[in-house]
């Protein structure tokens, strides 16, 4: 499998052509304010800005056309490096590049190009609008890409299912020495338990009842411990199966410190059986049992904050995560797996549901990201040793309407309902902030 590399991404919709990125680059690379010498160039007048920047191509034309061997792609970083000692200043490379990624620096008298400032590009933080991002998730691909996908291809999830994405990553990470317990819900419903005479998951799966997943898994883990085998006990349960009917056994297992990783895929309701509300369904949301009509405007109660309840069990590890923040998710997975060797680890992953939340399936990541950017969902982690802290703090959150408007399930909201949700978001944020101040050392 080929390597993937970190890259600078540009969102033209957010760019207003201010030129701060070019100034930052010129400063960093030439020590001057001469933006003509910047290796990143923004073209355009009032709108429709375009980017001229080296893409660090996988199949770089500049490298092939260079007659002097002065350009070379670094296999480790992916950066195309320029060697001044070999360059003959023929400028053929500038003709070869389709992106205007390498150009003549007239002052220096040589070509110049982006070297990503050794993985810490100066232009990215300089952009006041967030139009530039340095995407580093390639590391995940490089690391886990070769690991076996323990989930069969062609599962029966809805198109664009976020939970499938989450499961594939999670199973890759926990590896084959795992027993998966997954109670009725979307996870078995999409085929992890195997339909059609073949199994969907390439590790042992036990499909327990909604009431008893944590208890059943605790029994399995204890048996393996008794016979001295190191086996990862993993539960992947829905929010309904964890926060409603399965809560008693979840709470019991956490209190006893059973050695397992319990992952909750929170799609905020019973999405597998026709979108009924659960105690994790947020206020105002339409579900088939919190309908919208003359006498009802969606759910009238706020969601139960299950991860905070788990913090109050003083679990070995508790964290919230989102698939829109993969590196964060992977870090938490690693910590949770480690913690589950000695105690109960709980990972609560927000998982937008295109079918039940009523949004086009291509907006999955966008919805997941907006949830975090508005502070509707907060990403934090907790250990008894270090207490609770944010892993991604959003200091200037977008108004919650930016999140709500993306989904059909909130379409009916009256202004006072939106106001209620915004108030709750602020309240929740303050509540968690207070917990970070008074570290919950247990």
């Amino acid at each position: 499998m080929g390597r993937a590399y970190s890259t600078i991404a540009f969102d033209p919709a957010k760019c207003d052509g201010c030129g701060d990125c070019m100034k930052a680059c010129a400063q960093a690379k030439t020590g001057t304010d001469d933006v003509a010498r910047s290796r990143i160039q923004i073209y355009g007048r009032e709108k429709d800005f375009e980017l001229a920047l080296c893409r660090q191509c996988a199949d770089p034309k500049c490298v092939t056309v260079c007659p002097a061997g002065a350009l070379n792609k670094d296999g480790t970083t992916g950066v195309i490096g320029w060697d001044a000692s070999k360059c003959v200043d023929c400028l053929l490379c500038t003709v070869g590049c389709s992106y205007a990624g390498i150009a003549l620096d007239e002052t220096a008298g040589h070509v110049s190009k982006c070297d990503t400032c050794d993985g810490n590009p100066a232009c990215v933080p300089a952009c006041p609008h967030g139009a530039l991002k340095y995407i580093t998730t390639a590391n995940i691909y490089n690391e886990v890409g070769d690991w076996e996908d323990l989930f069969a291809p062609g599962l029966a999830g809805c198109q664009g299912c976020n939970t499938e994405l989450l499961m594939r990553h999670t199973l890759r990470r926990v590896g084959p020495d795992t027993v998966l317990a997954t109670p009725p819900g979307c996870v078995p419903g999409m085929g992890s338990v195997g339909f059609n005479g073949t199994t969907g998951t390439k590790i042992p799966v036990f499909h327990p009842l909604l009431t008893n997943t944590a208890a059943m898994l605790a029994g399995i883990k204890r048996q393996y411990k008794r016979v001295g085998r190191e086996v990862q006990a993993l539960a992947i349960a829905g929010d309904g199966g964890a926060s409603d009917v399965g809560f008693q056994s979840l709470s019991g297992a956490a209190e006893r410190g059973e050695q397992m990783l319990f992952m909750v895929v929170d799609n905020e309701g019973y999405m597998n059986t026709g979108m009924q509300r659960s105690s994790c369904t947020p206020y105002g949301a339409w579900t088939s049992t919190t309908p919208v009509g003359e006498t009802s405007r969606g759910k009238t109660q706020d969601a139960k904050n299950l991860p905070l309840i788990m913090v109050n069990h003083r679990c070995a590890y508790v964290a919230t995560a989102s698939t829109a923040y993969m590196e964060d998710l992977y870090e938490k997975l690693d910590k949770a797996i480690l913690a589950s060797k000695t105690g109960f680890a709980y990972l609560h992953v927000y998982s937008p549901c295109t079918t039940g939340w009523r949004f086009p399936s291509n907006l999955n990541m966008e919805v997941a990201r907006k949830a975090v950017e508005t502070n509707f969902v907060m990403l934090w982690e907790y250990t008894p040793q270090d207490g609770l802290h944010f892993t991604k703090s959003v200091d200037n959150p977008l108004p919650v309407t930016e999140y709500l408007k993306a989904m059909g399930r909130f379409r009916h909201l009256a202004p006072e309902q939106v106001e209620h949700i915004q108030k709750k978001v602020v309240e929740n944020q303050k509540f968690v902030e207070r917990m970070t101040e008074h570290a919950h050392v247990g």
């Binding site: 809805c158 339909f195 009842l209 909604l210 009431t211 926060s243 409603d244 088939s288």
Partner: protein
Amino acid sequence: MGGQTVSLVMAGSGGAGVVTAGSLLLEAAARAGWYAYMTRSSGPQIRGGEAAVMIRLGTEPLASHDDRFHLLVGVDWQNVGRFAAEIPLGPESLIIGDPGEGETPEVFTRSGAQQIALPMKALAKTVPDGRPNMVAFGAIAGMIGLTEDVVVGVLRDTLKRKGEAAIAASLAAFRAGVEAAADFPAVPRLPATQADTSERWSITGNEATGMGALRGGVRFVAAYPITPATEVLEWLAPALPKVGGVLVQAEDELASINQIIGGSYGGVPSLTATSGPGLALMTESLGLAVAAEVPIVVIDVMRVGPSTGIATKSEQADLNIAVYGLHGDAPHLVLAPTSVADCLFTTQWAVHLAESLQTAAIVLTDQAMGQARAVMPRSAAVSFIGQREKPAALAEGVQYKRYANTASGVSPMAIPGMAGYTYTADGLEHNETGTPSSQASDHQAQLDKRLRKLTGYNYGDHWADITGDEDADTAILTWGSSAGPAREALERLRAAGHAVKLVAVRLISPVQPEKFAEALKGVERVLVVEQSHSGQFHRYLRAQYDLPRQVKALHHPGPLAVRPGAIVEHITQWS
């Protein structure tokens, strides 16, 4: 049953739109003046599973599916072969498949049915936004005699919100189907009718159950979603507030049954709906309702068990747990509707009985009944309504005895808060006042009383539906959704000159030995029909009733439906 009927199946992978097309077909048939009966079958997975709608249309009301289907239309064949056992075909049947979707599975073709190619996908592509399921709908409509004007009306009404373009696209695809099937081999064609359809209903068993609850006076429902009972809740959720009631979605089945026990203790007729796994969780609390004499109704829409089983398909195998599942000696009511329409009556009656007798009533419907949609004559309204005996004014200085050992066994029940009527409702054994007691005499007295109120009550003629020849020496004994095919079998047998009687038991518990003996007077042989692997109903009858010497049992597990032909065969080949 009687009249002319045609039976057909539309099948395809999940998302092929067969359920949508089937629903449109049913609606159009209803408007054309025909009666209809539609069940559906699907796999448990979220997407890419298989789905089928089985539809029977007729000129007279229908109680059951036929033995075989005249027509099977496969919009595609992905995994549809898995339904083969549920879709019996014969040499007279016709299979329509899309040649672009591959070969018809061998499990279907081995029936000897004639095969016809209909390029549904290709025909759909000739129409902007055309869909293959609408082509299938058109082909079927043309073959069975459904006219376009009726279909146009249905499409207009159902697709109104999607706009003119969507209606035009559906209609064009529909026409392409009609045209393509014009010279296909014949299947039974139903005659046009001028019937007055204003007194008919298009209703599912689950909707009828909800309506029965409402009419019986239920004003509080707490429940936890479970397939295939959820539609009962979905029907009741918007209906209850209109009559001052309320539905609460609980966090699990333990919560839902205990919420309704609480609601009922507070004086409101209360009900919950679930399926087998939920009933299992509720059994501890059913015991509480029996001991504390709090009226409640629990609907169990049975599915294939045990455990998660086959959540989307039907079986009659919760009889044992419903009758015997409670701990201790806990007499209670177990009832079962005998048809889609009867879900209304039986639920309403169950509410009435639970309230009158201050006990728990379990109503056993099933997936085949609950999720079946029937176009049928509107049910007559019955007057049963939940009415609890309330205490009369107390004389000065007399203590209220909540569990007074009355002659009938029913003790007047006060509502908490009534001055002078304070009492403890409890699951601990108690004396007449409700105070806990571990005395043998109190236990004996309360056990007697709780049994007496059920056995001494006059349930009238509603304990069973008895039809057929009064002096027949052969009887079919059945219950629940197996009563449908049994009714059709009875008609066929009688039409062929056999004298047969049908007893479809509605009141499973408490047993009615005298009425049962009366119903079976002169009967020398009995065929017991049910859909369970172990023959639960047969064993129950054996344990509770005196049966004639000659007894045969026709029983098999779900999800295969009992077919009328199988019953007829058992009777006619009885030598």
